[in-house]
Amino acid sequence: MSDKPAFTFGVLFSQTGLMSVTEQAHLKGIILAVEEINSKGGVNGRLFEPIILDARSDEEEYARLTIDLLLKQNVNVIFGSCLSSCRKRVLPIIERFNGVLFYPSVYEGFEYSPNVIYGGATPNQMIIPLLDYLVKAERRKYYLLGSDTLFARETNRIVSEFLEESTGSVLGSAYVPLDTPVEGYKSVIRNALKFEPDVLLSTFVGNENKKFYDSCFEDELAGPALKIVSLTMTESELSAIQEEGRAGHLTAAAYFGTEEDTLNQEFLERYRAKFGEDQIPGVYAQTTYAQVKLLARAMEFTYSDSSEDILTALSGLELMAPGGKISLDPETNHTHLRCVIGESRKDGSFEIKWKSRDVIQPDPYLTGYDRILMAKRE
């Protein structure tokens, strides 16, 4: 056993509240990576010791626990948050005390902090390839429906802009406040269907997904001609909805549990051994798993746990993750990711329908995308 002090860090996800289904998935990836690292004796002889706290899907709780971790527990590194409102609440605290935040969720972009390592996809990595795929499959009439979040509004802005320049069109959009009771969903969905869209683009988050998909199914609202398409419906959310309503929806994500590479087979095996044979990892668990591994790699180089040293060592790092290689973009602290489109199945997994040929460079401020659109018009 090593006599060096353990490396402690914060893990801040919601184990309760409306983001619990999603953020419990995040937590599983962390637990698995930490176990793996510690089984090999830790990093340079130091074991990884996560301090796991429940942020209860509440941004004020997020803020309070972040301050507690940075000031009282003296950690430099925190893995955490999913909703953008929570990240925005935590970000100034992380910057003020010069911590490092590993953010593992797909989000709307337009942010950069030298103190944040962004592990989730930006819109150019997911929404643009997804729309390309859909338009090529002759799906042109979109209705945009989602939780009333920053993510939904910015995603829909980009969707509208993209469709305006292509042959598709947006018929309308609606935002449902977080925590709306399930009855409220039905009227919103019925209203959307009056427009006869051939895609319902969903930006519902966390446990709100269940209310949306179950409502669609129960009322037989969504016929076979309609596709429900999302960036936030992953394995964890899918297994929470009614079994009969699970099949046939599309999701774009950087990873699905059904990836066939060897590394993923090993990952799957360990994941199931740890969390149960019926469990399927999704992009949230894969991302936190990979981010903990990236941190370990960085600390191998630096022998230090100061924020500056860790951030410097992380810059430009590459990693073979389950599903394929990822790397950190030194200019934006975002991650090069592939886009994978999967169709959901009744057993809670996704059949992979399409994959980007290579990783896609993160473009959080859509600088490249704007140039492409401008070039198209000239």
């Binding site: 970000l91 100034p92 910057e95 337009f110 950069y112 902090s113 030298p114 945009l144 509004r153 829909n156 802005r157 509208s160 802009e161 947006v170 018929l171 309308g172 959009s173 609606a174 935002y175 209203n191 200019e331 934006t332 401020y365 859509l366 600088t367 704007d370 140039r371 401008m374």
Partner: protein
């Protein structure tokens, strides 16, 4: 909201940014480098200079300039001549002296030191929109000014014509307008020529 279209945002704001050359006038230190890098990150094409140049380099549409008593007096006189440039001051003091210089240089936005990356994008887009708005207002004022001056000349010419020909106001104006049309010049130009010829 029922209709997606109504909440579409004004895309020209970001597009304008992509087409803007930005100049950072700031010493080569942590703030100067971080600011320039972040401007490029958000999609401006930005470079840094120090000390301040005597004239504004060609093509620059956004200037972010350090205004600080600590770094010595910089020459920002050229700024008063550049009407279409978005001006963002970088300040580390809020002293009356700095506040009055901000007003004199008609800055559109302010960034504070130490530089924090959050807020730079908003400061730049805001300054670009403000300078465009002010530019549009100025052009409109110039146009209205000329129109007003012209109207006065036409009025004087009409008065003179009424006396000379013994016609009423309407008739005098019609005479001026017909002649201007025949000669293919503006009514103002004809009125000017008429007044000049009659030593008025």
């Amino acid at each position: 909201m029922a209709n997606g279209k109504s909440e579409l945002f004004d895309r020209s704001i970001l597009r304008a940014l992509r087409e803007s050359q930005a100049l950072v006038i700031h010493p080569d230190d942590e703030d100067g480098v971080a600011l320039t890098r972040h401007l490029n990150r958000v999609g401006c094409s930005a470079r840094r200079m120090w000390p301040a140049p005597d004239t504004l380099p060609e093509g620059v549409k956004v200037v972010l300039f350090l205004l600080s008593p600590e770094v010595g007096e910089q020459n920002y006189d050229w700024m008063s001549a550049e009407t279409d440039v978005a001006r963002i001051a970088i300040i580390s003091y809020e002293t009356p002296e700095i506040l009055s210089r901000l007003a004199k240089l008609s800055t559109h936005s302010v960034l504070t030191k130490p530089i924090r990356l959050f807020g730079i994008l908003a400061a730049v887009t805001n300054a670009v929109q403000m300078s465009k708005h002010v530019g549009r207002l100025n052009r409109r004022i110039r146009l209205l000014d000329e129109t007003l001056k012209g109207r006065r000349k036409i009025e004087n010419a009409v008065q003179a014509l009424m006396k000379e020909r013994g016609v009423n106001e309407e008739e005098a104006y019609r005479l001026l307008r017909d002649k201007a049309m025949k000669n293919r010049i503006s009514v103002v130009a004809l009125a000017e020529a008429y007044l000049l010829a009659h030593g008025i």
